[in-house]
């Protein structure tokens, strides 16, 4: 298990005052009091707009940079004190086509990267075969990477990230710039890694559908802090607690409209009416499920209901809402 408790990262901006002298001119808190957990077999999402502190958080979790404060434990080992010890349990996969040697073949690449993790030759062969087979590159194992398509290079990135059989994988924008088919394929790989291979996965992405499709749990960051956490549906419910209901009617009498307004006012419901030529649409935003109450009023007034639709809030809307609340300096429950 990976446990981060109250981790913080403060960067010091320095200005040179001489050849070998500098002074601190500003401090930037990139990550502030972040606590999160990763468990094998689960996919955790780390979301936030640019500059939210996601990449710095990943770098700390991957033992690449030392937190300024806080506790980071990976499999019970203090990762701040023993970064080299915990690195064997981790790997990072980033989007794009870098991080692999283009002039080498897939096999040569993986042999080198596996050697960096001090694996034995027999282990190297086993994990190379396993990871290449998982991403479907066994047929082109001896082809130089420069001849690979973008998608193949990206799959090789995943194989590279698996070469040390890590317990925890950090995926930073893994589908960036890929077409929909390859991106879908990669999402399937990521899902299999967590569910079949029992890897703990932390995913950052700007594609919200990926989060909805893959993540068991999500942390939302803004300005270096976690502003919301939970399953994607929980986060959506917290950020957008109201149900959005539209009821389409052929017409609406004044009495019925007044009755609806009365119920809305009594129940803290936001109600609006769109009177079109041929019909009237009633828009209701409500925290509680009051749909039957409204339908009852309509039917009691002998008005037939043409259509009822309930709009489920989406995670994307929830994130926008959270970003707005955070920008305005508000607190998220």
């Amino acid at each position: 298990m990976l446990i981060a408790k109250n981790i913080k990262k403060i960067f010091q901006l320095k200005e040179r005052t001489g050849w070998f002298r500098s002074k601190v001119v500003r401090q930037i808190t990139a990550v502030d009091d972040v606590s999160l957990e990763m468990t094998p077999g689960k996919i955790v999402g780390l979301l936030g707009i640019n500059g939210a502190g996601k990449t710095t958080t990943i770098k700390m979790l991957a033992a690449m940079i030392e937190p300024t404060a806080g506790i980071l434990q990976i499999n019970g080992i203090d990762a701040i004190r023993y970064p080299m010890e915990v690195k064997k349990y981790l790997n990072v996969i980033t989007g794009g086509e870098r991080n692999i040697y283009w002039r080498l073949t897939a096999k040569e690449n993986l042999e080198y990267f596996a050697a960096l993790y001090h694996l034995k030759p027999s282990e190297i062969n086993y994990y190379i075969e396993k990871s290449l087979s998982l991403v479907g590159l066994t047929e082109v194992v001896d082809v130089p990477v420069e001849r690979y398509s973008k998608g193949m290079k990206q799959r090789l990135q995943i194989a590279r990230g698996l070469v040390n059989d890590p317990m925890f994988l950090f995926l930073d924008e893994p589908t960036l710039g890929l077409d929909v088919v390859i991106a879908k394929e990669l999402r399937q790989h990521i899902y299999r890694l967590a569910k079949n291979e029992n890897k703990g996965v932390l995913l950052t992405t700007h594609y919200i559908t990926e989060v909805e499709e893959l993540c068991d749990y999500v942390y939302v960051m803004d300005k270096g802090r976690i502003i919301a956490q939970g399953s994607p549906s929980e986060i959506t419910r917290v950020a957008i607690p109201e149900q959005r209901i539209t009821i389409t009617l052929p017409s609406l009498s004044l009495e019925a409209e007044e009755a609806l307004k009365e119920v809305a006012a009594a129940s803290d419901v936001h109600i609006t009416f769109d009177h079109e030529n041929s019909h009237t649409v009633v828009h209701i935003k409500s925290k509680d499920n009051l749909i039957m109450k409204f339908i009852k009023i309509v039917t009691e007034n002998n008005i037939p209901v043409l259509n009822v639709s309930i709009l489920e809030p989406r995670l994307e809307d929830a994130l926008l809402q959270l970003a707005t609340i955070s920008k305005e300096g508000g607190e998220v429950d």
Binding site: I100, R103, F113, N164
Partner: protein, 254 residues
């Protein structure tokens, strides 16, 4: 893999430059100086002939440049190729990485050294007194020196994010101050002191005196000690600096 990934053009370039240096010295010595050389030169070089002096200088210099190019530029090449992050992410040791880089290029650098030496031998260098045991001992010491300087250079290049200006300035300084084509004693005293920051200066002294000149290495134990001190200094500064540069790089680049 050899055909795909080896820096062949760099190798050929270095061998050609080494051969051109030797050829240049050959023409100057034979046609401009007509074989006449200053008496002081013989004092400084223990009666070594000029051609052999330059040929040894060019060969060892090429070996130094080759090692420095491969070890010193390694991290900058990783940064440019986009593979440095993966290296820094892994638990692989930095000393192991540099040793691996050094060993990987060793045969190539040695080949460049041998080719220039053979070319010089064809032109008349006196290489008949080479003692294989002395050669191996001195070569090991020289390798330690150049490897250490390479580690320092790697940190420096990564710090300033440049290879071109640094390597060209350094190689010019080494060729001019290190005693490649003339003894360092000809330099002004201040520059003579500067020349001893380069392992090349010690390397050339040991090669010419012990390997080619046939003297016992015991007579040059102080040079050996100085070379090892310079090497240790380079390695320590290199690794301490590297850890700082790495930290800054991870925080700001990836």
């Amino acid at each position: 893999m050899i055909r795909r990934a080896m820096p062949w053009s760099f190798m050929i370039e270095r061998v050609l430059i080494g051969c051109y240096t030797v050829l240049f010295a050959y023409f100057i010595y034979n046609y401009m100086f007509e074989g006449n050389i200053d008496e002081q030169f013989f004092q400084f070089t223990n009666n070594m002939d000029y051609l052999t002096f330059v040929i040894v200088g060019a060969s060892v210099y090429t070996f130094a440049v080759s090692t420095l190019m491969n070890v010193g530029r390694s991290l900058m090449t990783e940064l440019r190729e986009g593979t440095l992050e993966t290296l820094l992410l892994s638990p692989g040791s930095r000393i192991g990485y540099f040793l691996g880089t050094f060993l990987e290029q060793f045969i190539r650098s040695l080949s460049e050294f041998v080719v220039i030496l053979l070319f010089g031998w064809i032109l008349g260098a006196n290489l008949t007194n080479i003692n294989p045991l002395s050669f191996i001992v001195v070569f090991v010491l020289v390798m330690i020196g150049f490897f250490s300087q390479g580690v320092f250079l790697a940190s420096l290049m990564l710090y300033v994010r440049d290879t071109f200006i640094i390597q060209n300035t350094l190689f010019f300084a080494m060729s001019f101050l290190g005693g490649m084509t003339f003894p360092v004693q000809y330099l002004p005293v201040a520059l003579q002191h500067v020349s001893y920051i380069f392992p090349l200066t010690y390397a050339l002294h040991l090669f010419r005196s012990v390997v080619i000149g046939g003297q016992s290495i015991i007579l040059h134990v102080i040079t050996v000690f100085e070379l090892l001190c310079v090497s240790v200094t380079y390695v320590i500064i290199g690794f301490v600096w590297l850890s700082k540069v790495e930290r800054k790089l991870i925080e700001t680049s990836f």
